[in-house]
């Protein structure tokens, strides 16, 4: 099966610091991929290159066979067609570590904003879907609250509903639970697990090895800007090959 998401040979430097040294990540439909690695290994940067929040210095990103067209050379490399990029972005549901809800909009308005404004869908239909999604993540009764009135776990679930409401082809999670207390973490992980079971395509950056092993079909271990080890989660965690990953796993997930 052709992959739905293909990020090929992504390179990215910040000044002299080469953060990604040619990383390829592909995901087929329904696949859950976890990205692990120590702090500063470039996980977030890789995820942000996929939707061009960071512009990779070289390499290509394609969704559903459509490659994001780029122009120019670094440091002036940029998407050649803003409209195309916006269209592709609106098929990638991003969930941030720090939630990033739009603070002056209620939860339901957060969820409805992009479908109505970006995807130009019918507000009534969007509202119905938004309420269903809030139900699914378990915060329907908070629909009219603002982010500041929610717990971290509720905010993150609202952010997941917001990402789901654009009917994304791929969900991108950047450490969705690392800003949460353990007891709030559980409720968010439960939702992500549910999405995995539904057969959604997801790329998940996480520090939670147990969760990665449980939920992800494949796991990618990033080290020093390169893929150090990659395989099914059972292989990667059960029959670890690389010394670095062994060290990383035995050290316990470092913060």
């Amino acid at each position: 099966m052709a992959p739905i998401l293909e990020a090929r040979d992504i390179r990215k430097s910040f000044g002299l610091l080469e953060v990604l040294k040619g990383v390829t990540v592909t995901a087929s439909k329904g696949e859950v991929i976890s990205l692990i690695g120590s702090s500063g290994s470039g996980k977030s940067t890789l995820l942000r290159c996929i939707n061009m929040l960071e512009i990779p210095d070289s390499g290509s990103v394609a969704l559903d066979g459509e490659e994001i067209r780029m122009a120019g050379k670094p440091p002036h490399r940029h998407p050649a067609d803003e409209a195309q990029l916006r269209r592709i972005r609106s098929k990638l549901g991003m969930v941030f570590q720090s939630f990033n809800l739009w603070s002056h909009l209620s939860v339901i308005d957060n969820v409805m904003e992009a479908p109505i404004k970006v995807q130009k869908r019918d507000p009534e239909e969007v509202r119905e879907q938004a309420l269903e999604l809030l139900d699914k993540v378990g915060i329907r009764e908070k629909a009219d609250s603002y982010a500041s009135q929610l717990s971290g776990g509720q905010q993150q679930r609202a952010a997941i509903a917001r990402a789901l409401c654009i009917n994304p082809e791929v969900m991108l999670f950047d450490e969705p639970t690392s800003a949460l207390d353990p007891e709030l973490e559980v409720e968010v992980l439960r939702v992500i697990r549910l999405l995995a079971e539904e057969g959604r395509t997801m790329v998940l950056v996480t520090h939670d090895m147990k969760f990665a092993r449980d939920v992800a079909h494949r796991t990618i271990f990033l080290h020093n800007g390169m893929i150090e080890e990659e395989g099914t989660s059972d292989e990667v965690f059960g029959a670890t090959r690389s010394e670095r990953l062994k060290q990383f796993l035995s050290a316990g997930a470092p913060e």
Partner: protein, 249 residues
């Protein structure tokens, strides 16, 4: 009740003059608000020409006293009268204090307010803007969804002070521009009353009372708006606008 009579009489006498100050403020604040937002976005622009021009304008008007700006513009306008305004037949308008006064105030408040809005732009939560980008919003949609509401909320307390200051600054207009007939503002009229009886306590105090009252109204209205802007930040404790004077400008 004898001591009340002169106060009441002053209050009456100063009622119409106060309308001039109110007019000056009303004629300059809304336009200045709009210009300021454009100027703040300009200073924040990635285009270096636009950014430098905006920053230069803001610096020029914030870096020199309003009093001097009034004198300067008035003398320039006067100097341009013979070569320009007269032939065009515009003198009656452009040299009139009711036009020139608000014009200079507008130029001035544009700069001060722009700096306030520019500061607010710097403080907009980056994550919210990123989320808007990640969801495929255009620049304009990002502005409407994230930038604008955050900017106004962040800027509002400082902007409220700017509005009150601008209102107070209307007292300077007739110090520099000519008084036409009976068109006198609070300061003129109070001065005129003072020269009649040299009552040092009365007239300027009543004029100040007008300023205090109108400032109070501004604080109230802007405070209500601030409550609305902060509705999503409700954390139980009431938020108050604080008046932070910056005595001379």
């Amino acid at each position: 009740m004898d001591f009340l009579a002169p106060i009441l009489s002053d209050i009456q006498t100063l009622a119409v003059p106060s309308l001039f100050n109110i007019y000056f403020a009303f004629a300059s604040i809304p336009v200045g608000f709009l210009f300021a937002i454009g100027m703040a976005l300009g200073k924040n622009s990635k285009n270096p020409v636009i950014a430098h021009l905006s920053a230069g304008y803001i610096y020029a008007f914030r870096g020199s006293p309003l009093f001097i700006q009034l004198f300067m513009f008035y003398s320039i306008m006067l100097a341009l009268n013979l070569p320009l305004w007269k032939p065009l037949g515009w003198s009656w308008l452009v040299l009139h204090p009711l036009f020139l006064g608000p014009l200079i105030l507008t130029l001035n408040t544009t700069a001060y307010s722009a700096e306030i809005f520019y500061g607010a732009l710097q403080a907009i939560p980056r994550g919210e803007v990123e989320a808007a980008r990640a969801f495929g919003m255009t620049r304009y949609q990002q502005f409407r969804t994230v930038v604008w509401p955050n900017m106004i909320r962040l800027a509002w307390p400082a902007y409220t002070n700017e509005v009150v200051f601008l209102f107070h600054a209307t007292a300077l207009i007739y110090f520099t521009l000519p008084v036409i007939d009976e068109q006198k503002d609070l300061m003129n009229k109070a001065g005129e009353l003072f020269e009649r009886d040299y009552n040092v306590f009365l007239h300027f105090s009543v004029a100040a009372l007008y300023y205090l009252t109108i400032s109070l109204v501004i604080f109230f209205v802007f405070g209500q708006i601030y409550k609305y802007l902060m509705r999503h930040m409700d954390s139980g404790q009431p938020r108050r606008l604080r008046f932070k004077p910056n005595y001379l400008r």
